[in-house]
Symmetry: D3
């Protein structure tokens, strides 16, 4: 169930049954010649909503812009500074905690968010950990789950693409968006087939190393059919992780 398609009375009712909520978080950044700029946000959103349907769980609106400073050399990429994204995650979690949500599960579509969102969780916990006034704010637990990161999805990517999977603008994520948004499939030629790999610093350096935006991948192999398999596998795996998160002591 989408939070934004509920009324507040419906949320009040749901809170009696479960105090967990799913928050998709992605990025708006170049994804190579045939990947959508919204790939990371779109993938996180469709997987999160798939989990929501599978488990009848509540899904908040997607945080569509993440930490993508290294992509700013390519038109259309948008970033939040890490300090800004920390504030966004903190305010989101504090708002939800106010209503009694205490298991906040972020489904993430972008590797570049991991460090900052993890730091944001620590910023939130630190408020409580540093407080010596004996206030009794309720504890909250946050978890970040990358949809592309798990045994089943890893196995599938390897089976489908092997070394052509790479680490940015991967055929897996491009396939997933092709499955979810069949009217937005893009055609493009790239050379070499598999993009170079390397380390990431600032956006000028990135553009110099990775001329068309890809890292280590060959997204020309993407198909909507593969996207369907990826979707099913990711939803099942992320749903299981969420179930365990809710059930943990």
């Amino acid at each position: 169930m989408l939070l934004h398609h509920c009324t507040w009375l419906e949320v009040e009712d749901r809170l009696k049954r479960s105090t967990g909520i799913i928050v998709p978080i992605g990025s708006t950044e170049q994804h190579g010649p045939n990947g959508l700029i919204g790939t990371d946000a779109l993938c996180a959103e469709v997987v999160a909503q798939g989990v929501g349907e599978t488990l009848d769980a509540l899904v908040a609106p997607t945080i569509a812009v993440g930490m993508a400073q290294h992509h700013l050399g390519f038109p259309g990429s948008v970033t939040l500074r890490p300090s800004t994204l920390i504030a966004v995650v903190r305010d989101t979690v504090q708002s939800l905690a106010r209503h009694g949500f205490d298991r906040i599960f972020f489904v993430n579509g972008h590797g570049g968010n991991i460090a900052t969102v993890t730091a944001a969780f620590s910023e939130i916990y630190a408020e409580r950990s540093l407080d010596s006034s004996g206030r009794n704010a309720p504890a909250v637990r946050c978890k970040l789950k990358n949809w592309f990161d798990g045994p089943a999805i890893g196995k599938l990517s390897k089976e489908l693409y092997g070394d052509a999977e790479g680490s940015h603008a991967t055929p897996s994520e491009v396939s997933l968006t092709q499955y979810a948004f069949p009217h937005s499939i893009k055609k493009a030629r790239m050379s070499p087939d598999i993009a170079p790999s390397g380390l990431i610093y600032d956006s000028e350096d990135y553009r110099r190393r990775f001329a068309d935006g890809r890292i280590g991948s060959n997204p020309m192999l993407s198909t909507p059919e593969a996207g369907k398999r990826i979707y099913d596998t990711a939803v099942a795996e992320v749903a299981e992780t969420y179930r365990q998160f809710l059930g943990a002591a």
Copy 2:
């Protein structure tokens, strides 16, 4: 055209024709007994995308969470602090400016965002205005346009609902979401028909004054048919405002 459904090469191409971009901004907050929590974000998004189609203009992902501290007494409402939202708008504009966008047009769905987003524009301009180093960063212009605020849409709301329009959880915005999301039409009884009016301070005070969340409105009058007329009128009016913004000296 949706920015997130473009590749970076398509954005590069579009920038040669136009340096304007539309950014929908809304809120995720209670909208009374039959209004969706996402009303303000959903309305801003559908109107902005309508404008995008009308003018073949680029539309960025929606900033779905805005400044809604006063609604936190109702489950499901989420807010950014004004200081956080200022940082989000600043980073968004700076990212877009980096690529050469210099007319950033925010289509807004939430009255509570107006002050903060306007302050954010000043924060952005102030960086340039306070700089005495002779740096030559390009100037950028930002504009906030409320879709619900203009002669044509005002006339239509008055014709449709008169005094029952109110100022929060209005039948106009609820109708618009009913038109756009017909599977999420909610039924609810409310009493009195027209909610009380008054001033807004913090969330406890709000909940005490406005028991079911509405202010001055009767959203039981909402219909998808009215939503269609509202959509058409808002898109036309906002499109015209954007056209003028792009063309201004």
Copy 3:
């Protein structure tokens, strides 16, 4: 009564009778060829102190520098960034709240402050609205009242100056300072009589559009005699607004 001309014992005594306080807020920025740089702060201060005398109300020191980034192209203009002004308003309100003041009434002399001060109020309320620790900090209510904005003062400005009133460096505000500070009346010729109008972005753009600083006004029409009428009208109108604010449920 001026807060700064009281002892703390006198304030303690006054708090038993009223928990309201008036805070004048203005700006230090160019006001065209014959307007004082302090116009907005001086007007807010004299009106606020007039209200203080009328109602035997407490008046705090004036916040003399506001949000004026757009005027920085003209020598002598000073601005606070919006983020700084938000912190100033927050600290001021929290200090006063600590003593038991719970109705903080800002008399404003500068249109450019409205968005930022309104955002500051939300920042203050958000602390309370986001807190889920059950702390029992007392609620506080803040209100911003522009002295130049009300039915009576609007009618008078129209009667006195019609279309020559404009929106910056208006003959009304210049007249008010001429009445209050008769030794600081400046003579200047300007051309055209009525300055151009237009939108405001950063300070370079502003200076290019509005060469002598005025917007839409003809302050050569200013007189101390008109200033007297403006003063009397503004004080009465603002006093009535404050009285209602204190009395509201």
Copy 4:
């Protein structure tokens, strides 16, 4: 000359002759049973304006609220957090620097401001010192001068009050306000004649140690006549310091 009583054209003209400006800074805080809450701001302002007259120098509006957290146990005291005051000083200096002012001279009336304003200067300088981009922002020099701190004024205070001068709510500063504001002279009995002395931590601790707000002083000895001598001495001494600051290589 008061900056706020100039037009921008007058400031433009003055900048051709001198790039220095005086900024009074004080505090709004309890000053014992017969001292005005505005004592520190009022003293800084009258001395600064006296210097302005003596040297035909430009004087900006007073920063009336400073760092006074330790006084918050007494009604009417207002503080800025150090982090807020640093931002205020930074924005003020950057605004003035934008116009070409490069000698910013703060006349201070409050011991509690010294550390924070000094830190603010370092924050401003650090922007330049940390910048490795080769930008050519002009250098600016800031100086803080306490009006109550110098050989001549120290000698006079000692002559007038000896050990009864103390360190807060001193007879010297109270005398100075009695001279400057003869209609606001307050009568009060205090016991003991000379208040206790000690260290300063937070506001609760302060109120417990210093029950009526004074530290080490006997302000019952204040007279407007002494205030006249203090005024003359302080103005002469501060003016000389400013002259040297402007002339320094």
Copy 5:
């Protein structure tokens, strides 16, 4: 060579030969019943200084306090909020960049720092990536290397301790401090031999799950002799990583 044991003339000289520098970063937090509170800072420091000796490389003073909010339930633990640590890393890197250092290599001793320090690097890069003024600040590259994280050290830990290594207060890190600080070897009994494992949220939750502070480890197995082997292995492995970092295109 220790930066803090150089003169500035020696640093100037060294910069002609290498623009790299090593910054040890650790934490000050409980390390179970027999681990030193400084374990993470001490280990990072001794390994970094060992690398400095091996390669004749410059080593900056250790950042001894890191992100350790989760340990605050145990006396003596000290944390920086993530937002504070980001500012510390940013100022450190900007200072070094000012002198021409452009390869900043952080040798890290604490898993809890990884996310925040990585986010700090992005915050630094983002300043450059978001800048559209054409400024020509030199690019800088930062790298975080955990001394305990690499094929050789991983193999050694496994050989030495197998499943008793755990993830906090490990016998490897305790052994390393026992080797480096033989006068500070602590004796303590713990039960069970191997501490429980689990996830980390705030400090209350941590203390409830991990009663004596350890996670998954048996540090009673620590010996200074093992510490010697760990030291040699870590220094060699980290030195090799630094050499590659300096040499990379």
Copy 6:
């Protein structure tokens, strides 16, 4: 006793006897041709640890980087912005307060830290002073003690060096590091014998005025023997100050 060489159980035990702790704070900045870049941190650390031994008091890890923006014109100098250092001091104090430490004693080795650290104390106290929620966080007291600043050490410096002591890169501090780190004694010729004196603004201005980094000093007079006398005197004097701080009502 060093905090970082304790276990948490030992700290828990010590807290039963004393709630005081010593935090050394210095700077990492040029100290002229023969002074170590770490002089201020090293001196603060050795004196603080001497006090710790004398009184069996707990000593935290050294804050090795302070506020040194003015030294950035000389290679190897590192600074924290004042706003960053305030956050570091605040987080450190809040962490210690969480465990029950309520007397935090900073032994300082750098004049440039005084203003910022003092402002940081006020920032910490202000949180409590501005809080009107009736929370009962325990009060904490902070004190800054410069090891080089006291009657006994002043007398000794004068006796040893008279006018050649100066104010930066003094023979006293260089002697102290020569005593403490005999393997890091540097030889250098300087001219003139006694460096010029003057005021401090930004780092470019500093380098222009003070070509080799010294201010008013002749550190060629430094000897390890003098360092021994300085060490003994400083430790005794600082220890006595700490004793009084702990014992004060």
